[in-house]
């Protein structure tokens, strides 16, 4: 079974802190994604990566950056956390190809106080 693992299930951080959310997948997938999920807004794409060291902005990249130094790991970085970044963060991965499904991690619920 494909496994996508997010480093934390729950996280509480202070305003202004630098926050790292880690995601690891074990199926050699080329594509990896970070979404945030807020009530009534569904999943919004923050960044995605289609290869090591490659990244593309999604719809809401402001306030975030990403790192993909190894194929299996995709990190989301909040450079200076703010309260409006309190949300559920979901990581996903998929194979390259036009007919592939995505596999999701269990999510990280981040609260910024």
């Amino acid at each position: 079974d494909v496994k996508v693992t997010q480093s934390s299930r729950y996280l509480v951080k202070r305003t202004g802190e630098k926050v790292f959310l880690e995601c690891v997948q074990d199926m050699d997938h080329e594509n990896m994604f970070w979404y945030r999920q807020d009530p009534g807004l569904g999943l919004r794409l923050i960044y995605f990566s289609y290869d090591v060291k490659m990244k593309e902005k999604g719809d809401i990249p402001e306030g975030y950056s990403v790192s993909r130094e190894k194929k299996e790991r995709f990190s989301l970085i909040l450079e200076s956390a703010s309260t409006n970044q309190t949300s559920m963060y979901l990581c996903a991965s998929s194979l390259t190809g036009i007919h592939t499904e995505a596999f999701f991690g269990q999510g990280t619920r981040l609260t910024v106080v």
């Binding site: 594509n31 009534g40 999943l43 719809d59 559920m88 036009i98 007919h99 499904e101 269990q106």
Partner: protein, 111 residues
């Protein structure tokens, strides 16, 4: 911007009834997928329909796709209380590898 938009936002039915959810999208796609999310968890893939397909079945799930109207529907037949979850459609553009979701439909199946 979000690609898919589901409706209704919420749906409540009795066990045994059918549930239909709709999804509309904006741009050309390779595939349309449906995912399910139990409360506070990650999403699980249900079914994928390619842009050249019109209908697909998987167990109690039936998905249709109308590319001329840029819309899809998910039908769950003979619903069960365990089907209670949020359902999302997702589309990938025919330009790159990204994948975008709608706001989802919250389905409640009452026993």
């Amino acid at each position: 911007s979000q690609q898919g938009e589901e409706d209704p936002q919420a749906l409540s039915i009795q066990e045994g009834e059918n549930a239909t959810m709709n999804c509309s999208y904006k741009t050309s796609i390779n595939n349309l997928q449906w995912y399910r999310q139990n409360s506070g968890r990650g999403l699980v893939h249900l079914i994928l329909i390619r842009s050249n397909e019109r209908e697909k079945h998987s167990g109690r799930l039936r998905v249709t796709l109308d590319t001329s109207k840029k819309s899809s529907s998910l039908l769950i037949t003979a619903s069960r209380a365990a089907d209670t979850a949020s359902y999302f459609c997702a589309t990938d553009s025919d330009i790159n590898n990204d994948m975008r979701f709608g706001a989802g439909t919250r389905l409640t199946v009452k026993p």
